[in-house]
């Protein structure tokens, strides 16, 4: 079953056609938190289904599933990897509802050969002399 409505599916397919390089979605599954009222939902299996649904729309998107890989503090999670390389772009949780857009946006960004930030932003980041971890808390509604 598709993860998108037919009209959304053709739009996403068009967007994914613009990918300039392959993008791998590494889905990390493992022991998951059980949010209240959702104990019966297998978030890991659903995340795999979402990732595979996206991959079905583009020859440039592939999916790999790993059980409890090192370096993942939460499950499920999706590591968005341009050309299979871990560049620190990740979605922790099941990307559904509104948040499917974040996953698709991450794939589109990862599929670009050149970063899309302004030159002055890129210069500022190039001057960083320490590591920086950005966490963005989101909700699907």
């Amino acid at each position: 079953m598709s993860i998108l409505r037919p009209d959304e599916e053709s739009r996403v397919r068009e967007l994914l056609d613009a990918l300039e390089r392959p993008v791998e979605l590494l889905v990390a599954v493992g022991p998951q938190a059980s949010p209240l009222g959702a104990q019966d939902l297998d978030f890991g299996a659903e995340t795999v289904r979402v990732a595979e649904g996206l991959a079905a729309l583009s020859g440039c998107v592939t999916v790999r599933v790993e059980h409890e890989p090192a370096g993942f503090p939460r499950f499920p999670a999706v590591s968005i990897r341009p050309e299979g390389e871990d560049v620190g772009v990740r979605y922790d949780g099941l990307p559904w509802g509104h948040e499917l857009g974040s996953l698709i946006g991450g794939v589109l960004e990862a599929g670009k050969r050149e970063p899309t930030l302004r030159p002055e932003s890129r210069e500022a980041l190039a001057a960083l002399d320490r590591d920086l971890a950005l966490d963005v808390f989101v909700t699907p509604t």
Binding site: D92, G106, L117, L128, F137, V138
Partner: protein, 66 residues
């Protein structure tokens, strides 16, 4: 979210993780997530809401110490 992802893609020093707050309620509570998007830098909550790229860069490069 996309700005954070763009920063991570532009710099090997930066990582960017979207975290579904409902799914990880304990962490969301620790980070005092009352509105989304809530942005944390190096594990310290910083601000809520979308901002322009220049402001985003300014805030992540010079975060309040929390």
């Amino acid at each position: 979210m996309l700005l954070a992802y763009r920063c991570a893609l532009a710099s090997p020093r930066v990582t960017a993780t979207a975290i579904e707050a409902n799914e990880f309620p304990r962490l969301a509570e620790e980070m005092e997530v009352w509105a989304v998007p809530r942005i944390a830098v190096d594990g310290v909550p910083q601000w809520d809401g979308a901002v322009p790229e220049t402001v985003f860069l300014q805030r992540i490069l010079n975060p309040a110490s929390g």
